[in-house]
């Protein structure tokens, strides 16, 4: 993979799983319909007997996966994200979490991918839900290199894993595989900086990456962290960022409540409280529309992320007066985005 190259994450997932399945005979793929949309066509062609179809049966498929895992298989259940997370939540919690089964749930086309299909198909609460399950690992890779490594790590890890995958093409952000020290529970510092830390995850990572480039060109020293594991969190890296930069901005294609923003805030509020801003979906059902437009409607385009950081810095920078300044800036920002809608 070359830096800057755009890859379809579903296809990348399917290829990574197939490569693993060649050397791990325990791996089986479970589909709740739309297997090709999950990137599983090459797997199905190569291992038809290990590709198990369940149709639009999103509760049942989780129980079947749990049962398969008790016999030593490593099931990867892939489907459209809300239908393997919110829909069968109790099965995921009990049959995979409580029963501690070695099943990998792959929610694809997650986030605002299905912007045009509306809130029934958008998946912006999956991380919040699955993060509450004890023992569940939550992986949200943000570039194709992280994604391949996340698939490998998920297969290697013994226990339930949620792997969140988008579908719009995402750029390769790393120079090489060696440049990406991915591990479960580890964040990755992509650029150093002392003024503010910008944390991106999943499909929001490349946009945070672009925003960080813009800000650095303006002379703002932004530290950029990729956080491809939302559970367990990289406690040391996050506390270090809070301590050294004093300000944190999170960016995600998910509700900030319960998502990356919520998770980081939960940690830092107890360990090292610093001012934060959270860019992501707020408490509403987003509108339907073209993907890029819906991202803009939620403040998730790179220029909006950069602006959020600038406003945060100017508010925090003006000390005593700054408090009122911060309030003014935020209110104005909200008014502006309200008018845009």
């Amino acid at each position: 993979m070359k830096r800057g190259e755009l890859k379809d994450p579903r296809k990348t997932f399917g290829e990574a799983l197939l490569a693993l399945a060649e050397r791990r005979p325990e791996i089986v793929a479970l589909s709740a319909d739309s297997s090709s949309g999950s990137g599983l066509s090459p797997f199905k062609k190569r291992f038809p007997e290990r590709h198990l179809e369940f149709g639009i049966m999103e509760q049942g498929v989780i129980g079947y996966a749990a049962g398969l895992a008790t016999t030593g298989k490593i099931p990867f259940v892939a489907a459209i994200a809300p239908f393997v997370t919110a829909r069968p939540f109790e099965m995921v919690r009990n049959d995979l979490g409580y029963m501690r089964q070695n099943v990998k749930v792959v929610g694809r086309s997650a986030g605002l991918t299905y912007s045009d299909l509306g809130p029934t198909h958008q998946s912006i609460d999956d991380v919040a839900l699955l993060r509450t399950i004890p023992g569940m690992v939550v992986l949200v890779p943000g570039d194709p290199v992280e994604l391949v490594k996340a698939v490998e790590a998920a297969a290697e890890h013994v226990g339930p894993v949620y792997l969140r995958v988008g579908s719009p093409p995402i750029p390769v952000l790393y120079e090489s595989e060696a440049d990406c020290p991915f591990r479960i529970g580890g964040g990755i510092t992509m650029t150093e900086g002392k003024e503010v830390t910008l944390i991106g995850t999943g499909a929001a990572l490349p946009r945070a990456f672009e925003a960080a480039q813009t800000l650095r060109a303006e002379g703002i020293e932004v530290r950029l962290i990729s956080l491809p594991t939302l559970k367990p969190l990289d406690r040391d890296l996050l506390c270090q960022a809070a301590r050294e930069t004093g300000r944190i901005v999170t960016v995600e294609e998910h509700y900030v409540a319960g998502g990356l923003g919520g998770a980081v805030a939960e940690l830092l509020a107890q360990e090292y409280p610093v001012p934060m801003r959270m860019v992501g979906v707020n408490d509403r059902f987003p509108p339907s529309g073209p993907y890029e437009d819906v991202l803009r409607d939620n403040g998730l385009q790179p220029d909006q992320i950069a602006q959020a950081v600038r406003e945060f810095l100017s508010a925090a920078g003006s000390k005593g007066k700054g408090r009122r300044g911060a309030t003014r800036a935020n209110t104005a920002g909200r008014r502006r985005s309200g008018a845009a809608r």
């Binding site: 079947y64 049962g67 008790t70 009990n94």
Partner: protein
């Protein structure tokens, strides 16, 4: 065919299981007694005759599996596992205590022989189906039995699981419906009708037999006939009596969950003593 001696032996085992259920309730001071006692003879037939198991090797890969989908029947599962020697019967006296290895609904990580952590209704058949599929893919001839309540059949997830089991031709999967006809708020068919039950299973592609769930001859004859149809999963609709064995509670909805007064517990002991005397004769 079951010999008279085998039948007598099974009745004695079933009595031991019923005594263990009372022991659990005495320890915990309450429990889901009705559905435990209605399924007691079914579990006796499975654990003491039909299943290929070794209590000393609960993780033996080639074992048959039993999933109690209606997890509130945990009392009969604990009672049967203890009677079969999976763990010492003394452990039954910890039921109801803090962090007991015998929680109100079974936890597969706390006790040997518990194959799935059930309790939320409508999960067991999917889990059992996955086990059956995995065993077949691994080339093992083991069977998977799943004991379900009839009230539980209102959960749509069961019918997802039933469809997938016939689609994937799981002839090593056996569902047993403990059809005691009662659930917490009344007659099951009045709370949410499921009749014609056998036709339902048949229409989902299962082979079906209906029998008396307290008749060991009938139960074992059916279990020996599995799969009822080649290439299909098998469903047994077992007519049972809720709280079977307790004279004052049989067929009464009030005994779904039982918090016994001392005089009731004493009567329950006398009822089981009476069964014991009838077996001695």
């Amino acid at each position: 065919m079951l010999t008279a001696a085998e039948d007598l032996q099974l009745r004695r085992s079933a009595l031991q299981i019923r005594r263990n259920i009372l022991r659990l309730i005495r320890a915990g001071k309450a429990g889901h007694v009705g559905g435990a006692l209605s399924a007691a003879d079914l579990l006796t037939a499975l654990y003491f005759q039909a299943m290929k198991i070794d209590p000393l090797r609960p993780d033996w890969p080639e074992r048959d599996r039993l999933v109690v989908s209606a997890g509130h029947k945990s009392l009969v599962l604990y009672a049967a596992l203890a009677a079969r020697g999976y763990f010492p019967e003394d452990l039954l006296d910890t039921y109801g205590s803090l962090a007991s290895r015998l929680p109100g609904h079974p936890d597969m990580h706390k006790l040997p022989g518990v194959e799935a952590s059930t309790g939320a209704l409508g999960h067991g058949l999917s889990i059992a189906g996955g086990m059956a599929l995995g065993l077949r893919m691994s080339g093992l001839a083991s069977r998977v039995y799943v004991v379900m309540g009839d009230g539980e059949l209102a959960e749509g997830s069961n019918w997802e699981a039933a469809a997938a089991a016939s689609h994937h031709r799981l002839e090593n999967l056996v569902a047993i419906v403990d059809r005691n006809g009662l659930q917490i708020s009344g007659l099951t068919v009045e709370v949410m009708s499921y009749e014609p039950l056998e036709e339902r299973w048949r229409s989902f592609g299962w082979g079906v037999q209906r029998l008396d769930g307290h008749d060991f001859g009938q139960i074992l004859k059916a279990l020996q006939a599995v799969p009822f149809q080649p290439g299909r999963p098998s469903a047994i609709v077992a007519d049972t009596v809720k709280s079977r064995g307790l004279s004052f509670a049989e067929g009464k909805v009030e005994y779904h969950y039982w918090k016994p007064a001392p005089e009731e517990l004493a009567q329950a002991e006398r009822d089981l003593d009476w069964i014991e005397r009838s077996l001695a004769g």
